[in-house]
Symmetry: C2
Subunit: 242 residues, 2 copies
């Protein structure tokens, strides 16, 4: 028996890999957050849908496992990459009591890659990916990671930079980066990267990042000493001599 | 005028996004490293190919820009994601003297995402991506980054873990991680993730990583305190309560 964790990519179907479409097509049951299910409505005819709100991740995975144990072909869908802040790890944990149930992950274009492509090429050298959501990771750990990667002058990609409950987290993150990086450091952020609703992208300096207009659908990239702006795009130069 | 940097994904066409195929199809000229060009041979009928060896990145980008300035529709292809250790940043630099020439990046499944999907779900929380190649980044900087992300207990994905000239770099990287992470830390590595030749995946502990059989086509993932092995797969548990 197999159960799939499938990454849908950023939203536009042109950015979803063919393997994801094939796996979804092959399944009897598709499980996911309501908004993500809507992204793939053209693939869902005749399938059973188990669709829940944002915070019901555990219930979604347990429902998916129960369906698979009943003999159904099941996939759990996430936006972006199912293995990067997606449902894959939770699905492995939910399936752990059933060794006969094999989990397979289908990757997708994660928000870091989508935002980077829209902004220019800011992730062309070493980088870190850090979520500012402290629902699952203590804020002290997040702060320690932000401090470490900033001190090592790594480009840093921030997921979940702000929510209603955590309205000052991006401000705090920017302040930590400013301990080590100059205020002129080039940064950028993208809302709704490659969604059919259209992306909004902005460049700014690290000094201005704290007051950037971001929300939970925004991905933020903090540059490093090699990050330049070339004709309005954010580029991490890799040091080739031209 | 537009010139494209296109990510081909890991190799298998089922893992290349439709947008990449469309852009390649629309181009007159396709520029890339010989091995990557071979991956998309079915798309290349009637196109001009500019195909060079591994270390001729600068020449490839300059040739691509020259073709675009002659009025051709041109794309430069990279394996994985064009913006993650790919050709995108170099293309921005090569196109910089020509403001009328717009660079557009088409993302792809990068090796970190491909290797993670094969190993299980090791990148489900914060992580760092670091290349061990010191062709473009001084080794001291790489060491500092490895030390920083290990001290902050971040999962770490290593690109280019070994080459003929740099046969002991993975050993050095593992030794740095061992300053901060216990030798029992779960790790994994994948060679040729999602290539049509077939992937080879292995799990090991951090103590055994130094002697792992890796090459430049291998991606290595060093886990953290939350990284577990579940039924033979590497999983970074996010802390949900099941």
């Amino acid at each position: 028996m197999k159960i799939y964790a499938v990454g849908l990519g950023p939203g536009d179907v042109s950015y979803m890999i063919p393997e994801a479409r094939e796996v979804i097509r092959s399944c009897d049951t598709v499980v996911g957050y309501t908004v993500y299910i809507d992204l793939i409505s053209d693939l869902l005819a005749g399938k059973e849908l188990i669709s829940t709100g944002m915070t019901a991740e555990v219930e979604r995975c347990e429902a998916a496992v129960a369906e698979a144990l009943r003999g159904k072909q099941v996939c759990v869908v996430s936006s972006g990459d199912a293995g990067i802040y997606g449902m894959a790890s939770l699905l492995y944990e939910a399936a752990e009591p059933y060794p006969a149930l094999e989990v397979e992950v289908v990757p997708g274009i994660t928000a870091a890659a989508a935002a980077a492509a829209i902004l220019g090429s800011p992730l062309s050298n070493d980088f870190a990916v850090i979520s500012l959501s402290d629902l699952m990771t203590p804020w002290e750990v997040i702060e320690r990671r932000l401090d470490a990667v900033s001190a090592a002058d790594m480009v840093t990609c921030l997921y979940n930079p702000r929510s209603k409950k955590r309205c000052d987290y991006l401000e705090k993150a920017a302040a930590i980066a400013l301990r080590h990086k100059p205020p002129t450091t080039n940064c950028g952020y993208v809302r709704n990267a490659f969604r059919d609703t259209g992306s909004e992208a902005c460049l700014c300096t690290l000094a201005d990042l704290a007051t950037a207009d971001v929300d939970m659908f925004t991905t933020v990239i903090i540059g490093n000493a090699d990050t330049r702006v070339i004709h309005g795009k954010l580029v991490c130069a890799r040091g080739y001599r031209l």
